[in-house]
Symmetry: C2
Subunit: 365 residues, 2 copies
């Protein structure tokens, strides 16, 4: 056989750079042989408190049921979400993380050759998904201070624009679209453009000025994506959900993989949504950690972007070296050199983890 | 807003009929208020023995780790698969069930407007995936006895044919492609056509004449998909894998959702692959159950297609009524009326479940 894989692969696939996730704890252990208790992972915006004890119990309870397929649609978890978020069940769809909801939203609406617009720097997945479905990615840069320039989105809309993805709060900058900006944007955006509002981090937002897309669910074509990976502490179970009008959910259901969420994820999801105490504690931990890290960064001369999420984008002098040195000491943070030299993203950890990070930064800077 | 969702949705999406899964146990309970101990589900080709005790332990062990993201690539599970199936790790990719592997394989190679060929009747997902990516589905009917007509595949190949999916053993018929047929097919199929060989049920095959695509992994463009949902007993965790040459896996990795398998699935997968005793017991249970059901069907005058999998396609007189009546008695089987009237697919259960089914069929026929 003349080996012609390169020739028969779709051209768009070749444009995709593989996603680089935050370094897993096990990888660092493999590399440096460190014990698991020693490692502090501040690289993937996970909930540093560990899962809710109710979640742990729910998983254990369903462990002997996993030889059966999950309920495809996630009946009970959807009912719980409907109750907690005050929406009818028909306006909810479950996904393997919210990124699968974003993927399905794009696949339902975007024909090959049509455009999908999203901010940059932002979540790397948007570009991968665009190429995967043969869409034309149109990247809209944030302003110099990493705030959103909503006018630029409006200006760049063409007859080929099918979907606009907004990441709010934006990853990895922690900046948000304010209510006023969102109102103005929604007033002007054409009705035949679908807005996917990725609100994975919104539980951490502590301002009333946050511009969720929710008020526009019934007046525009909107898909809001939410996740249980962040404040709800279920990153390892891959569970997120989308909220949209019934007609939109109906089309997304046609391409939803029949069993896209697992039994433990569905059971743990219900438990996580029920544990208000854990959610509050996670929120408080994040606010406290942010205050502490801001003041530590100030005293260390580290520039940072004020954040509304559970991570902080900052510039650390000599970042490549510092990241490597921190890893040797068992602390993982994430380089964001795609944005510019010295940019790193640090997830807010527990009090103890933040302290450890700061102590080590002090020694290294 | 003039509500124009219908106008902006992709045309192909409208062609997709939603996937209808086997009725979950909970759904029957909701409908008839039956207690869970009473329900016998023979509708989704699951392992009726329940998960391996090693799997249950593995899930419980990792329950408190789920606030972290999984290792995206599934390092340890891939190593285990590499060991068990005697392949280098670079030739393995993990998926959320093997259907995600099929999906990625199609997405990597098929441009919109190109053709994907697959048997009919077969797994409904192939058609859904084809429309999802804008491919043209070309359905190749099995022969009247539901055996494969490989010549028809070859005859229908055009310059637009990009992928051929083979389901072997075929779901829902239980028929296989024999070694000789596969050899002949591989000799003739063009090198620039990619073959996806869906071998989800191959662990149940008890003939040496089975024609796996494995011998052609390095001489043709092949993706073999395997699952841990069936004999390994992990349907509820969504975990499968693909085997292909390194170059092919490399392209698939570019579109693999970064965290497509969960922590419990990865941990349970390792445990399941290690439990040879459970796998053997599951295999034996299936062979025994098949012998028993064949003879019961014979004496009840039920026509069936001899199967190499863990399910039997048969024709039951007055099937609609019988299915309904069985459900009232807590037994779920699956109608296959898409094939023709009276066709049903019955998964082989435990000894006790098979007995219960036969007793009830006797009463109803």
């Amino acid at each position: 056989m003349n080996n012609k894989i390169e020739d028969i692969v779709r051209q768009d696939i070749k444009k995709i750079a593989p996603y680089v996730p935050g370094k897993p704890i096990e990888e660092l252990q493999r590399a440096y042989g460190l014990g698991i208790e020693k490692i502090v992972k501040l690289a993937s915006n996970e909930n540093p408190l560990g899962p809710s004890h109710r979640v742990v119990e729910a998983i254990k309870r369903c462990a002997d049921k996993v030889s059966r397929y999950p309920e495809g649609s996630g009946y009970y978890l959807k009912n719980k979400i409907a109750e907690v978020f005050n929406k009818p069940t028909e306006e909810i769809i479950l996904g393997s993380g919210s990124s699968e909801i974003i993927s399905m939203g794009m696949e339902v609406f975007i024909n090959p050759g049509e455009e999908v617009m999203y901010p940059t720097p932002s979540f790397q997945i948007y570009e991968i998904l665009a190429y995967k479905i043969g869409a034309i990615p149109v990247e809209i840069p944030l302003k110099k201070d990493f705030s959103y320039d909503m006018n630029m989105f409006l200006e760049r809309i063409t007859s080929k624009t099918k979907v606009i993805i907004l990441c709010n709060p934006n990853n990895p900058t922690g900046t948000i679209i304010y209510k006023k900006q969102m109102d103005e944007f929604m007033r002007q955006v054409p009705d035949d453009v679908v807005i996917i509002s990725d609100e994975a981090y919104r539980e951490y937002v502590d301002t009333d000025d946050f511009g969720t897309a929710e008020p526009y669910l019934y007046s525009k074509n909107i898909i809001i994506t939410r996740t249980l990976s962040k404040i709800y502490g279920l990153a390892g179970l891959r569970i997120g959900f989308g909220i949209a009008r019934k007609e939109i959910i109906g089309f997304m259901e046609r391409i939803r993989p029949p069993f896209n969420t697992t039994i433990p994820a569905q059971e743990a999801g219900i438990a996580a949504l029920d544990d208000k105490e854990y959610i509050n504690r996670s929120f408080e931990n994040n606010i406290k950690g942010r205050v502490y890290l801001y003041s530590a960064f100030d005293s260390l001369g580290i520039d940072y972007i004020p954040t509304y999420a559970n991570f902080i984008l900052c510039r650390i002098p000599n970042a490549t070296e510092v990241i490597k040195e921190l890893e040797k000491r068992g602390i993982i943070i994430r380089d964001m050199f795609g944005i510019g030299p010295e940019y790193v993203r640090i997830s807010i950890g527990t009090e103890e983890e933040n302290l450890l990070l700061v102590q080590n930064l002090k020694e290294l800077l």
